[in-house]
Symmetry: C2
Subunit: 764 residues, 2 copies
């Protein structure tokens, strides 16, 4: 069950909170965030609330506050808070007499609207409506309006500006803050970090009325504010606008004040509604290809899917290869804004399939991270490129080495994921190859991809251990995606993914020698033992141990898993509102030694490589591991859904899909407070398109093997295959493929087992 | 008019707020602070409020957060906040239905008591009473209790611990925070600064009930908390106690966890009431000598005077010479916790006269600051010791060089006080000499005082400029106490005080040669040109220009003041609720060039050296400068009061005294929010004892020339003269002096012009 109400009106879809339940304040601040891939502003209410946790995050603004901290996404100065006084009484949701409340997020536009009806002690019948959005036209821009009306004539005082006293839960990142007012109008602060990074924000306020007097500007520590006074007649709407421009960079590449003033001057001139129109126009260009249409889905499903896609756009720095997608996007301080495998495995498929130029940027980000990955490999005694478990802006490992002190023993446990969770390297190559199969982007391979393939294949050969007795390579002492097991040998997911990684490298680089000998020679010059390396890869592929299904058809998650004892009362923890509640009753060591999973690695594997296993094996393993899985990771449900859809167990797939849809929207108000679950939101798209529509990339064609949920009558969406947008319409009885433009490059589809070359509309 | 109600009961005096006016939240947090000279905890309510600004400050914990910040008194982790839930509903003063509210500060004990009667949505008839104090027995200790009762049976959840997310208005001082629970009971955090300073706090909670379940402890970033659950029967008072121990230092000298646990274990055992009794016992030992008794004063006056004295104890690190008294004591972030001339001129007289061992510590702090003062003198091209305008822990100058950027021009003005406000050096010597005259503490002179005298006299000779044309020394380009004039020549206050400084040095060191030739020789060894220096001092005393009264009997504040034009509409700014409102209408440059004063330097001079001027001159100057003074400094009224009392203009003196009494307690809710006015509170004691009782120290006796306000019938107080406590009782018609013990050392008093040797009780 989701907490929010859903409405659709004039093709716009709204998530709505129609009463003020303060327990949900932080959750809704996250979920309703205004974000545009460059910045994210949490949906805190304008006037201060007791339970608020304000935040603005800008892509790439990471900073390490000191020797004992890790780099984190900086919580930037607040520009949303306003002190609103009516006839000298403060408006405040905690204290006023609330007559009506409604806040809604338009998930197509990201516009937030709040309507408050209230009485104050002296002034009655007040209505305050606020709206704001983060522009898709100019991503540095936040547009904000406040409309106040009242049954009586009123004097409105608004005090607002830039509050630089915001910290990351008590940790400051800015060394120096300089506050200014330009032209008696534009409030500005320039905040500097000790590493040369600069954050600038300028804001300007205006109104549909003449102010009673010139605004009075003032300074507080690290902050600047203006006090604006207006009079408003009864039942006439008084409107107040605030436009803010945000930029980060270094002194060399950040926008100068004159440029920013010009942008804000234009905002003032053209006004909120026109800025909104421009924003929607820009956003609609994306929705045109992104929007999934489902006949037979409930309005709630449509809202949930669209919500997920809104956040996919909001969290992804689509326009640059300098940054990637954080585990909580730009919506909160959770996971310190770090980037995990989530970006490639859960979030990228949408972009690879619909906006491949964005996927290209995300992959190029990983190419730039090769130096960090090489450093990490060397540090651990390997060769090649071993991608870090967590990264921020640079490609170097950001996973903290030690966790917080154990509250009772005072000892800090090691954080093993940074040390032992190695599958991320293969995950990146998997995503790279998916991208290549969908786009045929040879240039990317030439510029970046081949090098990534070579370096990662070198890594895996060094990472694996040859066991002479068994005459096989094994990958020992790792953590798989399931972090409830540690220090395991031959994790099924890791071994298969490593195999896939090396296989792609082997096949591609071998083929290069024949097909592009000049290029091959260049690499042979760079890696003087390339031929030996390719032989090593071949040997690795022949000898790597890939766990097979046992007699009961169960693929062992690792060498020891099947011999561990069961967690007796697993249902207690599966039904708990509190994530990871099992760790309240059992120590980490106990959990590691039981058959209990945070998420199921084997199911994840089935999800990624469905072609390797027959239907019965898949079914058996989904069932087996599902009984042992707590779904304590938000990545779990969508993986299960896709794996089930793959084998046509649509009821079960749909069950897991529904769980996925609700992860950020459900009634658990303690969840999502430190940010949305980026990967899970990406997983929703995967469920629909990779799962139910059965879309898979192959070297020579795109496969579509639909298995729609029973209620769904029609599913329409776009794919971009080899540069061509193709509209796909899946009906119960037929599939229609329609290229958007004249086909320039050969594009083939394999529909329900049969390959077709798409030349014009195809009805099957 | 003061904002607080006053009550006296069983010899205890209370300041009371009997309704919740949220505009006063921050002011009352300051004014009702629990402070004991080691730590100060602002009087924030336990449950979170919208307008709160929490703070705990510990003497000497200064830290510079970065290159662009100055050293400041650190706002430490909060231990007061509690989340109180009754039957799962949060208690919150902003949102509950308030039926009754009363908070009071016992100004004799510093105990804060809050009584809240409220209804929640589901549970009605709740009464929450909280009390807390900072112990005078063990100054590291804060004791806190909460009593909850209700008309219904209730389940009470309290979540509280140590919140390390507190910053100095957005600036973090702690580099590293480690949080622990010891023995499943004692919550502890250890916070480290990058300069090796450590802050530790441990807290333990207990109750008069058995908890329903074991407390659940948890971590948040930089914070630790426990969740406690109890059930309570209707109309039975449930009590919850929290004892916290605070320490700062370095790893070498800070209390270890075992020791702290023992202290807290004892607290739990003996309980709140017994700890309170011990605290009061310790405090009463101080009150015994400190308490001023006035027959004929109103209850309000008594409360205000006692309040001032409570804060004098609260702000002063009486037990150490490592630190001194900050301009806002330990009650807020204002003035960054820096130490100004306030400590010596406004706060020390009380200690010099009643607890001279404390004054000795404060003076020794300045002796330790000689190195910084020598550095500053050298930096400015002088010699000797030039005391910094602002200091923190070390003796070096902490005044920022530049103010915040001008909000419109973006240019930062220089802060001239650190560069040009030189009188502080003479102020320190004035206080030193006052101390010596009251105590006859020759040892202090030998150990520290002579060196301070020599160094400062050397400074002043270098600081002065010889003007051959006039055959005189002048002191050019200074700022006097009145900071509305800058870069002035021959500021009356500065010149006279410098003269006094050099005179004391000259007379003392010259006498040394005769009286203690061995000591003299030691100094002569250290300062090889000592004889030349003494000659220089002599010359300085002969030739220094000391501004004299003109024909209209006005002593010019400086060379240019009398020729400046008047501020036309001065009454507007004198009556303004907003301090320094003149700077809203006039630029600083304009203000500097008008006859308008923040505080009157000449009046301050009359206050310090009444013997130099005749009554008529004093009267004329008080009148003249009063008309030009905005009293924008909290130091102003008390100086005027003492100067007027001096000449027997008691009505006017009493008028200014009343103004002084109200500075922190008046109805201006925007005032005192960043801390109490330490100097002004010290000034209140000065008004009573130095002003109305006319107590003045001289080399061979203490002068008492009373001029009581008309309404006052009797004034009783203690002085400690040359190690002897003497009880002074001033009646309209007689004065009684009574030594507390047998007199060991000769003590003389000059009463109304006649000198008496005190041997036993003296009735005059």
């Amino acid at each position: 069950m989701i907490y929010y109400k859903v409405k659709k009106e004039e093709n716009q879809i709204y998530l709505i909170e129609d009463k003020l339940d303060k327990r949900y304040t932080s959750k809704t601040e996250t979920v309703f965030t205004q974000c545009n891939g460059y910045l994210g502003v949490r949906a805190s209410y304008e006037t201060k609330m007791l339970q608020e946790s304000r935040g603005m995050f800008v892509t790439g603004l990471y900073h390490k506050a000191g020797a004992h901290e890790v780099s984190e996404l900086v919580n930037c100065p607040d520009i949303i808070e306003m002190d609103i006084c009516i006839n000298e009484e403060k408006v405040n949701l905690d204290t006023c007499s609330l007559k009506g409340f409604r806040r809604s997020l338009n998930v197509m536009t990201g516009e937030l609207e709040t309507i408050v009806n209230c009485d104050l002690e002296k002034t009655k019948g007040i209505c305050i409506k606020t709206r704001r959005f983060a522009s898709m036209k100019n991503r540095h821009l936040i547009c904000h309006m406040i409309e106040v009306s009242s049954e009586e004539d009123i004097i409105v005082h608004i005090t607002t500006g830039i509050n630089g006293q915001i910290t990351n839960s008590g940790v400051t990142h800015f060394d120096k803050v300089e506050a200014r007012v330009f032209d008696k109008k534009y409030m500005h602060t320039e905040n500097s970090c000790d590493d040369g990074q600069v954050f600038k924000v300028m804001t300007v306020c205006s109104s549909n009325r003449d102010a009673s007097q010139e605004p009075i500007f003032g300074l507080k520590r690290r902050s600047i504010y203006g006090n604006y006074e207006y009079t408003s007649k009864s039942n006439e709407a008084f409107q107040f606008f605030k436009y803010s421009f945000v930029d980060t960079g270094t002194n060399e590449n950040i926008a100068d004040e004159e440029t920013i003033k010009q942008v804000l001057g234009t905002c003032e001139k053209i006004g909120y509604e026109e800025l909104r129109r421009e924003h929607i126009e820009a956003f609609d260009k994306l929705w045109n290809y992104a929007k999934i249409e489902i006949e037979g889905a409930t309005l709630e499903e449509e809202a949930e899917i669209t919500f997920a896609q809104y956040h996919l756009f909001g969290m992804t720095p689509s326009y640059t290869s300098e940054y990637s997608v954080a585990a909580k996007g730009l919506t909160g301080e959770g996971y310190k804004g770090h980037i995990f495998w989530d970006a490639e495995i859960f979030i990228m498929p949408f972009f690879t399939s619909v906006f491949p130029e964005v996927a290209r940027n995300l992959l190029q980000f990983r190419y730039k991270g090769l130096a960090g990955a090489r450093d990490k490999a060397r540090e651990y005694g390997y060769e090649g490129a071993m991608y870090p478990w967590e990264v921020a802006k640079t490609g170097k490992e950001e996973t903290p080495l030690y966790a917080a002190l154990n509250i009772h023993t005072g000892k800090a446990g090691k954080v093993w994921s940074g040390i032992k969770e190695h599958h991320v390297t293969a995950d990146i190559i998997y995503a790279l190859w998916d991208y290549y199969k969908m786009t045929g982007d040879q240039k990317f391979l030439l510029d970046y991809g081949y090098e990534m393939l070579i370096e990662t294949a070198i890594f895996w050969c060094k990472r694996a251990t040859f066991i002479p007795d068994k005459n096989q390579y094994e990958i020992l002492d790792v953590i798989g995606p399931d972090e409830y097991t540690e220090h395991i040998d031959n994790n099924a997911y890791t071994n298969y993914m490593a195999y896939e990684n090396v296989k792609i490298a082997y096949e591609t680089i071998s083929a290069l020698e024949q097909e592009l000998p000049k290029i091959y020679m260049e690499f042979a010059k760079k890696y003087d033992d390339l031929e030996d390396k390719i032989s090593e890869w071949k040997l690795f592929l022949e000898k790597i141990y890939l766990p097979k299904a046992n007699r009961e058809l169960v693929i062992p998650q690792d060498d020891s898993f099947l011999s561990k004892k069961l967690l007796p009362n697993i249902e207690k923890y599966r039904n708990s509102q509190v994530k990871q509640s099992v760790l309240l009753d059992y120590s980490r060591d106990e959990v590691v030694n039981m058959q209990v999973l945070k998420q199921a690695d084997v199911v994840m594997l089935l999800n990624m490589m469905p072609h390797l296993f027959d239907e019965e094996t898949v079914k058996k393993n989904v069932q087996y591991y599902e009984q042992r899985t707590l779904h304590d990771s938000s990545l779990s449900y969508c993986a299960h859904a896709v794996a089930c859809a793959e084998i046509g167990d649509i009821d079960l797939a749909y069950h897991f899909f529904e769980k996925s849809l609700e992860i950020d929207l459900d009634t658990n108000y303690q969840d999502s407070i430190d940010g949305i679950h980026s990967a899970s939101l990406g997983g929703i798209w995967n469920c629909v398109i990779r799962g139910f529509a059965g879309v898979k990339s192959h070297m020579n064609y795109v496969e579509i093997t639909p298995n729609l949920p029973k209620k769904w009558k029609k599913l329409k969406f776009y794919l971009k295959v080899k540069g061509q947008y193709v509209r796909i319409e899946i009906n119960k009885d037929k599939i229609i493929l329609k290229p958007e433009n004249d086909i320039e490059q050969k594009v083939s589809f394999k529909i329900n087992g049969q390959v077709y070359l798409l030349e014009k509309e195809l009805v099957l």
